[in-house]
Amino acid sequence: MPALKVENLAKTFPLKKPLFGPAPPGVRAVRPMSFKVETGETLGVVGESGCGKSTLARMLVGLLEPSEGRIEIEGRALDNADPAEFGKLIQYVFQDPQSSLNPRKTIRQVMEAPLKRLHGLGRTKRDSRISEIFASVNLREEFLDRYPHEFSGGQAQRIGIARALAASPRIIILDEPVSALDVSVQAQVLNLLAGLKAQFGLTYLFITHDLAVVEAVSDRIVVLYFGAVVEIGRAESIFANPRHPYTKLLADSAPVVGRPLTAPEQRGSELPDPLNPPPGCAFAGRCPRATDLCRAQVPELKDMGEDQLAACHHPLQD
């Protein structure tokens, strides 16, 4: 049984109805997508701005109501009605660690909330639980009575992780957890996350825009473009052996020491307009392999062998 299963999950943000005329169709931030995360697995989700990765994350933790589709955690359909039940299963680590801590609450108050609200622990039990968690994220207990602004980004992110752990969830959604951090601190946090996963038997969904980071931490990787999954594959092979031209473009664009500077695209081409999406493949406008078929028909996600799936009419071969 997978830890997390998503079926045809989609989100459309309605647009304001104009004074005259019919309501516009709305912006499809996430197009219907399906995937599974096995227990103990880290699924990486990678994509550029506007690909819908944050919308996906917020739907998974119940902060945003999906427009359609369903989410299952350990075989049970997710029920938004009871936030307490829900918070015990799945938790969220935010991108901006400072912004995710209430500036007027001490760290102890922040840590106590999930223990009290979700698990109903008494005072002494809470204190011992907080000590345990703080030890496992390498934070000193003297930090508990301080306020968020006294911490650096790396420390604040550890506190954010500690808060998520306090709920004792099965799954943690990590939404760009290290992109606000400097590289030397980023490595500390990534290693900590890897250790915690082994220690507590967690399942991760790791969202980022950084290819190298996602490759270093994930078992499998989902590549998103314009609100849809374009490719899913194993971390060690997806960038080395991409099937979808967009995945290849991403891999070729990442600056790598020792590789000469080449622009995979000369033209200044970017995302299509979300208010006026193209009828076929969203990437067709930038794709060197695009044909009339691509411009007319949205490609389905197809099995490409070796645990790899790609949504492309003309996938790349090795």
Binding site: E48, G87, L211
Partner: protein, 621 residues
């Protein structure tokens, strides 16, 4: 709280306001205990006594009532009514604002429509209508003034709440299992409270004025009871013959309102965190210069930064953001400056043309020489003529660094016309050509776009075009691709590389990304805690880093193609630059550190172009 009071009273005017207000408050509180005459007892024989007459220190009014006694009782009444109105308005208005802002959607829509309608009235019309319906009287005036101010609070607090409700800590509270009421009371309210206090302290004076105003019109307190407004209103008919009866209550209102305003400003300044750091100070046109040390001699480099020291003076603290940095570029060369946040790399870049915001920035030492001429401390006009003409900048976030209200063509043309006398038509043609140079499709129509109509990548191309406008010798690029997506970054980097090869540009490229440096730069300097710790040709530095910091930082960065792995990490945090330890700033995080590292200054040593600031380098240079 103590810090707040300290901040408040450091502001002399606020302290003065507090003292005056406290004096008035004490006076009116003890008024019933003072040996004063009955404020309402008339003595027509003694009418219009001048101030300082016997038994009547402030004189008497048209009915011979003692003005001092009436003044103190009137002040009591005015203050009580004004403060009560403020409290009522603040409570109701804030509650409405918080509910509308937190729940959003339809609730917000309906509430704010109502608020908008109330605000569509010039406020006095609403107050007059309420008084007209309820009838004149002090209580009704209080209700009217409070009601009129509810929408102001509601709108103000709603705005703040909407901002807070979108913050991630509210989401986090929801995930921690908190309900709406609990979130509003324990998460939102503590953050909104300072704003409510600011809004109250800045409006209470005004509400006292308003109630006094209604009484002045005869619609508030009714005789014989008098507040300050009705005293003034009654005195008006005798204004010309006996001005003192008007002046006395008028000056009291003025004193109350002024002291409240002074105190309110002080409260606002003390509670507003932006003002605490002095960030609201206006930056001067160039960075302040206060050089105590000798100015280094000229070299023959195109652009040379020599022993540059830039500090931020915030309160009593001195942040040594740049602590003696020397760098130089030759024509056609690309120099990378790499470091983590707080390493001083951007401040170094901005110091070159005096663009570090002052206050708090001060250049305290060294020189920046362009073709041998020292730019630091040069007169403003000389510096201005070089800015954008000989040395141009590209900044990080192209949305916030372009003026939102000018078309990109205007901004490009302005860059040219600030330095060259050409006609508007020619400038526009040149702007279009520049957009073509940076490979913007449909340049002829794009030239009339506003920045917000372009995507991030397009905007950064315009940013580059703006830097190229006057064909400068040097371009300083401060993290120009950090805000961009990786595919767009690749486009921009290759554009920059082509341009510098075609035009022989010298580029100083500030970044935190080793991959970018490796692909673009000929030489690289690594900064840590405001100083250069290592420099040399890019291949040499990245291939065989000599400083332990460089070596370990490179190891931290995961590289694409490496597969799943444990990453090397550097323990600890970079030091804060207002209290640097002696010797090597990295010593506390370095596993090779010895006692000597922290004993004294470590020099940057090596055989040019390689140099390293380390006593026990990883590689000999």
């Amino acid at each position: 709280m103590r810090a707040f009071l300290k901040l408040l009273f450091r502001n002399g005017l606020a302290a003065m306001g507090a003292v005056v207000l406290a004096a008035i408050l004490i006076l009116v509180l003890i008024t019933p205990l003072l040996p004063l005459q009955n404020p309402d007892s008339t003595a027509t024989a003694d009418r219009f006594q001048k101030p300082f007459s016997e038994g009547h220190p402030l004189g008497t009014d048209h009915l011979g009532r003692d003005l001092l006694s009436r003044l103190l009782h009137g002040t009591r009444l005015s203050l009580a009514v004004g403060i009560a109105a403020a409290l009522i308005a603040a409570t109701i208005g804030s509650a409405i604002g918080i509910i509308a802002g937190y729940f959003g959607g339809r609730t917000d829509n309906i509430i704010m429509r109502g608020v908008d309608m109330l605000m569509a009235f010039p406020y006095i019309l609403l107050a007059l209508a309420i008084v007209a319906a309820l009838g004149p009287g002090l209580m009704n005036a209080l209700i009217a003034v409070a009601a009129v101010n509810v929408p102001f609070f509601a709108r103000n607090i709603r705005g703040i709440t909407v901002g807070l409700a979108g913050r991630e800590f509210i989401d986090a509270a929801r995930l921690a299992g908190m309900g709406h009421t609990r979130i509003i009371l324990t998460e939102l309210l503590p953050n909104v409270l300072p704003v409510i206090i600011i809004a109250m302290s800045t409006t209470v004076g005004w509400m006292i004025l308003e109630t006094a105003g209604l009484s002045f019109l005869g619609l508030g307190s009714q005789p014989p009871q008098a507040d300050l407004g009705s005293m003034l209103g009654e005195a008006r008919s005798a204004l010309i013959s006996h001005p003192h009866t008007s002046v006395v209550p008028g000056i009291m209102i003025f004193l109350i309102v002024m002291s409240i305003n002074l105190l309110g400003d002080g409260v606002r300044d003390a509670l507003d965190p932006r003002l605490r750091s002095g960030a609201l100070s206006r930056a001067s046109a160039t960075t302040l210069v206060d050089r105590k040390s000798d100015i280094p001699a000229a070299t023959d480099d195109l652009l040379a930064i020599q022993e540059l020291e830039t500090q931020f003076h915030v309160g009593k603290r001195n942040y040594r953001a740049v602590g003696g940095v020397s760098l130089a570029v030759k024509p056609g060369e690309c120099l990378g400056v790499i470091g983590e946040s707080g390493s001083g790399k951007s401040v170094t870049a901005l110091s070159v043309m005096g663009l570090v915001a002052s206050p708090p920035g001060v250049i305290t030492g060294g020189a920046v020489r362009f073709q041998g001429e020292d730019l630091i401390g040069t007169p403003y006009e000389t510096l201005r003529q070089k800015r954008g003409d000989r040395v141009a900048y590209i900044f990080q976030d192209p949305l916030s660094t372009m003026h939102p209200l000018y078309r990109v063509g205007q901004q490009l043309a302005e860059a040219i016309r600030s330095h060259h006398r050409i006609s508007k038509v020619d400038a526009r043609a040149r702007a279009i050509q520049l957009l073509k140079d940076v490979r913007i499709p449909n340049a002829e129509s794009r030239v009339d776009n506003f920045p917000h109509e372009m995507s991030g990548g397009m905007r950064q191309r315009v940013g580059i075009a703006m830097a190229l406008a006057n064909e400068p010798e040097v371009i300083i690029a401060d993290e120009p691709t950090t805000a961009l997506d990786v595919t767009v970054q690749a486009q921009i980097l290759s554009l920059l590389d082509d341009l510098r090869r075609d035009r022989g540009l010298a580029i100083i490229f500030i970044t935190h990304d080793f991959g970018v440096v490796a692909q673009l730069c000929d030489r690289v300097a690594v900064m840590y805690a405001g100083r250069i710790v290592e420099e040399g040709p890019t291949q040499a530095v990245l291939g065989a880093p000599a400083h332990p910091y460089t070596k370990r930082l490179i190891a931290c960065v995961p590289e694409l193609g490496g597969g799943r792995r444990e990453l090397a990490a550097i323990p600890g945090l970079p030091p804060v630059v207002d209290d640097l330890p002696p010797g090597c700033a990295f010593a506390t995080r370095c596993d090779k550190a010895q006692e000597a590292c922290q004993a004294g200054d470590v020099a940057l040593k090596g055989a040019a172009p390689r140099a390293v600031r380390c006593l026990y380098p990883e590689e000999a240079v």
